[in-house]
């Protein structure tokens, strides 16, 4: 029997070729273009995560005491382990970026409007599931950052009214980090959430086929309910093109490009290096989540503490309600981005906000420089014993953890390199004693002499003094 005969027999008994062919060639509106590729690319990234994740799971040990070592083995010794972990790591980033781009595109072109409201709602569900994959995935790295991610996640959840404590106990699987914590997060990451995502994708794709790919928006064609459906049918009947290959070639080209980029990053940079082992009693110096959650982590540092208690659960809740209510509240009207300034405003505000927070999160100026180096004599540059003692106190009493002098020290508080030009003795003494905006009151830790020494040191930090030391 020839191959052809086999194929014909299979087709005769299953009819799959016809069905798939028909699905692939379903008519889509003309002119969809390059803005319509992000959804399929997100799907491609998900498939990449499924394959690389399944491969990694053949070696990863989801036990709290062994996971770290097994991951080290995968990254350093197992054949192709570094590459596959790298693909999975950058694939996760790609999926987060692509799903966000897809959502922004659908939002800006008003494609969520009638009759595609449920397309959008199922997409919001998939977005939430993708974020929970990102969260559980970084926990599975099970190093210091992984461990503290669960703790910080549980602490955030605990702030929610009524259900908070339950949620927190659920995330930790109890009261503390322990054996169950990692096992259950593993099950969520590899079975439960992916299962839900596959179901969600099936629903999403079914809806895309049923309601059709949205036509590129036109200023003169706002959405009319229910006339929209008939207009769409007429458009497809007169000017529709088959999805494959007329539109799909762009999906393939873009998806392949993303895949190559992920593979290149995996080869060049490799996966994220493991931090210290997952021992919660180790003093992590700077635990922080991966970039896609870092902006939110930074938000927790910059919100006013009193507001934070409420915003910490109200913001995500409000975002969820907004996203789900959006198509239900605004199912008709203009779709063209040029006529939707509010949509642009929202997107740009969101993007700028996330970018600023991300930048702040990367700098983490609030992280105390706990092992700041002592100020060298050349910078103190004084023979005055008061100034010299003050310089020693400046580091010893923790000032340097948050304040910078001539490039030494932390970033939380103002830079004090030239503070002598700005503040007088009395101001300096008062601020040190009473503290202030995010600064502890140091009055209780310093006796009168020490305070004078510190003031003398800070007083000596002037431009004139700086110029003098530079000249030496």
């Amino acid at each position: 029997m020839t191959l052809r005969a086999i194929a014909e027999w299979l087709e005769d008994r299953t009819g799959l070729g016809r069905v798939i062919g028909k699905l692939l060639r379903h008519p889509v509106p003309p002119g969809t273009g390059w803005l319509y590729v992000f959804g399929s690319a997100t799907l491609m990234a998900f498939l990449l995560q499924l394959v690389t994740g399944a491969a990694l799971a053949t070696l990863y040990v989801p036990a709290a005491g062994d996971a770290y070592e097994s991951l080290k083995y995968i990254s350093e010794q197992a054949m192709l382990g570094r590459f596959l972990r790298g693909m999975h790591y950058f694939g996760a980033s790609a999926m987060m970026i692509l799903i966000a781009m897809h959502a922004v595109r659908v939002f800006l072109t008003g494609s969520y409007k009638f009759p595609r409201e449920m397309n959008w709602v199922s997409g919001v569900l998939l977005l939430a599931l993708t974020v929970s994959m990102a969260f559980t995935g970084q926990v599975l790295r099970w190093d210091q950052d992984g461990v503290w991610s669960v703790v910080v996640g549980a602490e955030q959840a605990a702030r929610a009214p009524l259900v908070g404590r339950w949620l927190a106990r659920f995330l930790l699987s109890g009261d503390n980090i322990g054996g169950e914590t990692l096992s259950h997060i593993f099950a969520y990451h590899v079975f439960i959430i992916p299962g839900l995502i596959i179901g969600g994708i099936a629903l999403h794709l079914y809806l895309v086929l049923r309601n059709g790919v949205s036509a590129p928006p036109r200023v003169d064609a706002p959405v009319e309910i229910p006339a929209e459906r008939a207009k769409y049918e007429a458009l497809l009947a007169t000017r529709g093109v088959p999805f494959f290959p007329d539109a799909m070639w762009r999906d393939v080209v873009f998806g392949t490009g993303v895949l190559f980029l992920v593979a290149a990053c995996a080869l060049i940079f490799g996966p994220r290096t493991l931090g210290l082992p997952p021992d919660p009693s180790l003093l992590a110096k700077d635990p922080h989540p991966d970039w896609y959650l870092l902006w939110y982590f930074a938000l927790l540092a910059v919100l006013p503490p009193r507001l934070e208690d409420i915003l910490i659960w109200l913001l995500p809740l409000a975002a969820g309600v907004f996203l789900i209510a959006l198509p239900l509240r605004f199912p008709g009207g203009q779709r063209h981005p040029a006529r939707r300034p509010w949509a642009w405003g929202l997107v740009l505000t969101g993007l700028v906000g996330v970018a600023v927070l991300l930048r702040t999160g990367i700098r983490s100026p609030w992280t105390p420089e706990v092992d700041a180096k002592p100020l060298p004599a050349a910078i103190v540059a004084s023979h005055d014993s008061m100034v010299m003692s003050g310089a020693v106190l400046f580091r010893a009493r923790g000032c340097e953890a948050c304040h910078r002098v001539s490039g030494f020290g932390g970033h939380y508080g103002p830079d004090l390199t030239y503070v002598g030009d700005r503040l007088g003795d009395l101001d300096l003494a008062q601020r040190i004693e009473n503290g202030g905006h995010n600064m502890p009151a140091f009055g209780r830790y310093l006796d009168a002499t020490e305070l004078q020494q510190l003031v003398a040191f800070l007083k000596s930090r002037t431009r004139a003094h700086g110029a003098m030391t530079d000249a030496h």
């Binding site: 605990a158 322990g178 009693s281 927790l300 934070e308 105390p368 706990v370 502890p440």
Partner: protein, 167 residues
């Protein structure tokens, strides 16, 4: 050969069969899903009795010093190893009094670090600072550091395990 039976009145029978199918399916689904769901969510209901953990002989602690201690939390499952460790800052106040602070910042639970010369606890995550008595000195935390129970038994210092302080 038997003659075909006359068709029974369809509707009541169909109604019964519909209810039977739906009802049985629901029961079958519940038999599988309920225990599975309860098992998956068990962390919420898990109550682990807190324990006393032996630390070191009393003589090892200098009065006035604040030192980091490490012990097993109450969730010390066999396979958890170092990930079930818990940490605290222990200070010997006088001959027979100790105070132990949880190392979890009351803001987001990150590990605070005792800066002995500055007499402050500092948190790396969002810049929370606490005084030596555990009260808030600066930054986003609103509540003081949580204290763990400490006791002296037969000249050895013991610490009581506790949940990670939440909200």
């Amino acid at each position: 050969m038997t003659a075909p039976k006359p068709a029974p009145p369809a509707l009541p029978r169909r109604g019964f069969l519909t209810r039977l199918s739906l009802g049985l399916s629901a029961i079958a689904a519940a038999v599988v899903a309920l225990p599975a769901a309860a098992f998956v969510l068990r962390g919420m209901f898990r109550r682990v009795p807190q324990q006393w953990r032996d630390l070191a002989p009393l003589a090892q602690f200098t009065i006035g010093d604040t030192v980091q201690i490490r012990f097993e939390s109450a969730h010390a499952d066999e396979w958890a190893r170092e990930s079930a460790h818990a940490g605290a800052w222990l200070r010997r106040v006088d001959a027979d009094h100790f105070v132990a602070f949880s190392m979890h910042c009351t803001h987001m639970g990150c590990p605070v670090r005792w800066q002995a010369e500055a007499s402050l606890f500092m948190c790396p995550c969002h810049g929370g600072v606490f005084h030596s008595d555990g009260s808030v000195a600066a930054g986003p935390p609103l509540r003081p550091l949580v204290r763990y129970p400490v006791r002296i038994r037969a000249d050895r210092v013991e610490i009581g395990t506790a949940p990670i302080p939440m909200g």
